[in-house]
């Protein structure tokens, strides 16, 4: 089943590329391909039994001599993220509907990207996990490079260089780990780590391997100071690709932390938790304050994304700083907050990029200073925009708040001072997001805006699932949290020690 979910998009991509005449109907094929996958994935996640651990397992020997299996499955950690990919992928295809240039290539790349994302989230063996992880990078590179904005070349190259260097470091670290422990299997490695085998076998190398494995994820999340690739890449990518990047790809990094680093190197995180916490904190503040001075709307959103994803890392590292489990079980709350934040931010940020992209479509500019008074001309657009903005700045009963309050509730009990400083970023977020609204929507409409068109109902429909989800997550988060509850409880206990 999971294999089918993973590979249906790439089959669709092959169909677009190879079948004669399929090029003309590339959009429907892409939509159908992603939709089938999505529906299957949603079906699987609905069938996920909350009381049990790993489910829907598929395990085949692949390269037995070095312990490589094709091993996929769903547990509490990836269920929510698979759901996220499933929800976003058809929307992203729909959001790309207007692509005219080289549409075949575009949609094939997009579909390959989806396959890689599903694959990376379901894989339980480092070997093919890494293949998918890297495979997710390549289509993104080409999509930015071929279809992006004016600065796309530089953006694509720095994106590529950063992530590849990070990945190489991680690959080396994992290979070394394999040599010492003889396993590529996440589940097995986790058991080995729990038994103390990993740290005893690695010996003096532990710190270096920990660092190497973390580096790849560090770039992907990204955390300060390896974040420079992010803003240009998000800003220059075509809108649907920005949606993929911010909605899903940035979650891959956090997911990697929870899948690789936390179970395998819990001592590493615990030992360095103060440095890591400070890094996450700086990233939070950094993103928020950088966004304050930007006028390019996509850059603002990119920095805001930097800030929001760093909250997840902040929660994880705060758990690393914990001394055991207290009466409110703060580690579990913080980590569940991180899980929910991934989902909520994935949904919300993808929506925001989509809606910000519309601004460029209709107004031909990304600079918020070129706009003004759109609230009167495009009330529907203003509504959707405002809705997503308020979700992003943490308005209660919308997605962002539910996740952030969990992170803060947990983290405050663990490291009050860091958390109190992190709250400053909430203020900065409010300031820059409201400034955008003020600039774009209020005041007198510019003369040049006379011919601006309101977004169509169709476009609202495309994004409406995201809006509905935002409310659902915000009002009753338990539905989503239940998926990961059991898993996170054990994971946070492991990390909190």
């Amino acid at each position: 089943m999971i294999t089918a979910i993973t590979f249906i998009p790439v089959l669709a991509a092959l169909a677009i590329l190879l079948l004669p005449g399929a090029g003309r109907v590339s959009k429907p094929i892409a939509l159908v391909g992603s939709l089938i996958s999505s529906l299957l994935a949603i079906y699987v996640v609905i069938g996920f039994n909350l009381e049990e651990g790993l489910q829907f397992v598929e395990k085949y020997e692949w390269i037995p001599s070095i312990g490589v299996d094709y091993y996929v499955g769903i547990d509490g950690l990836n269920a929510l993220l698979i759901l996220l990919v499933a929800i976003l992928s058809p929307i992203i295809v729909l959001a790309s509907w207007k692509i005219k240039d080289k549409a075949n290539t575009y949609f094939s790349l997009l579909l390959i990207q989806f396959t890689a994302l599903y694959g990376a989230f379901t894989a339980l063996n480092f070997f093919h996990w890494f293949i998918f992880w890297e495979a997710a990078l390549v289509p993104a590179f080409f999509l930015i490079k071929l279809y992006g904005g004016n600065g796309r070349h530089k953006a694509a190259i720095s994106f590529f260089i950063f992530t590849v260097l990070g990945s190489v470091a991680m690959l080396l670290g994992m290979l070394f780990l394999y040599l010492k422990t003889g396993s590529f299997d996440f589940i097995e490695l986790r058991q080995l780590a729990a038994d103390g085998v990993v740290s005893s076998k690695l010996g003096d190398w532990y710190g270096w391997i920990f660092l190497a494995v973390m580096l790849g994820l560090w770039v992907k999340v990204p955390l300060f100071p390896l974040h420079s690739w992010q803003a240009p890449a998000y800003a220059e990518a075509p809108v649907p690709v920005s949606m993929v990047l911010t909605g899903v790809m940035s979650k891959m990094g956090v997911y990697g932390f929870l899948r690789l680093v936390v179970p395998i190197f819990p001592e590493g995180i615990r030992e360095h938790s103060d440095i890591l916490l400070n890094v996450a904190l700086i990233t939070i503040i950094w993103g928020a304050f950088l966004a304050l001075r930007q006028t390019d709307i996509k850059k603002v959103l990119a920095y805001s994304s930097l800030n929001h994803v760093a909250y997840c890392m902040f929660a994880i590292f705060a758990v690393g700083a914990a001394n055991g489990i207290d009466k409110i079980n703060a580690p579990a709350i913080a980590m569940q907050g991180a899980m929910l934040q991934m989902f909520a931010h994935g949904v919300g940020a993808a929506g925001l990029f989509y809606i910000a992209g519309k601004l460029e479509d209709v107004g031909g500019s990304r600079d918020i200073q070129d706009f003004g008074g759109l609230g009167a001309i495009m009330p529907r657009y203003a509504f959707v925009f405002g809705f997503l903005v308020f979700s992003s700045l943490g308005l209660p009963f919308l997605a962002g708040f539910a996740a952030e309050i969990l992170i803060f509730s947990g983290a405050f009990a663990l490291t009050p001072i860091h958390t109190a400083i992190a709250l400053l970023a909430l203020l900065a977020t409010a300031i820059f997001l409201l400034t955008i609204i003020q600039r774009i929507f209020t005041g007198q409409a510019h003369d040049t805006h006379g011919d601006l068109k309101e977004i169509s109902i169709r476009e609202v429909m495309v994004i409406s699932p995201l809006l509905v989800l935002t409310v659902c997550i915000g009002v009753y988060p338990t539905t989503w949290l239940n998926l990961s509850n059991r898993f996170i409880e054990t994971l946070s206990t492991l990390l909190a020690g």
């Binding site: 070349h153 190259i157 590529f160 260089i161 590849v164 260097l165 190489v168 080396l172 070394f176 040599l179």
Partner: protein, 169 residues
């Protein structure tokens, strides 16, 4: 044994000579592929099966194909015949220098008197030994090579694409 060696040596020399003399570039590439396979054969002869396999995969499989692609992408008319450098004087100058080097090499080789026989009879080198050596004492080197490959890859992408940037703008 020796017959095989001489045959392979002849093929290798033939391939090499053809590669540098044929005017048609495509033909030259095919002859160098011949040369590569001959070298692979020589490796087999020296009981280095894995290296032979790598030789075939990397050189014939990818480098050769890469060259064909490069030719097709650069030469406007396929198989455009080309001359050698500037003048006959240059050509002979080059040949002379090369011959001089060869002339220096041969006495160096023969004087060393390497006539020892193979000691491989009591040892059967397998891929396993190679892999073990690669993973334990040479682990760092593997890492460096991996980095180098990455850098090369990035460099190749940059080099191949940077020019298109200027044509775009």
């Amino acid at each position: 044994m020796s017959i095989a060696f001489f045959m392979l040596a002849a093929v290798a020399v033939l391939g090499g000579v053809l590669a540098i003399t044929l005017r048609n570039v495509i033909h030259a590439v095919f002859s160098v592929l011949l040369f590569f396979s001959a070298i692979a054969g020589l490796f087999l002869l020296l009981i280095a099966e894995f290296i032979a396999a790598v030789q075939i995969l990397v050189y014939i499989g990818s480098v050769g194909i890469l060259m064909l692609f490069a030719i097709m992408l650069t030469t406007k008319v396929m198989g455009d015949p080309t001359r050698t450098v500037r003048s006959r004087g240059w050509v002979w100058g080059g040949v002379a220098v090369a011959a001089l080097l060869f002339g220096v090499l041969i006495p160096l080789i023969t004087r060393a008197g390497n006539t020892a026989e193979s000691s491989l009879s009591n040892f059967d080198p397998s891929v396993k030994e190679l892999g073990l050596a690669l993973m334990d004492p040479y682990f760092a080197s593997v890492g460096v090579i991996a980095l180098l490959l990455t850098a090369g890859l990035v460099g190749a992408v940059v080099a191949a694409s940077s020019a298109s940037e200027t044509t775009d703008s």
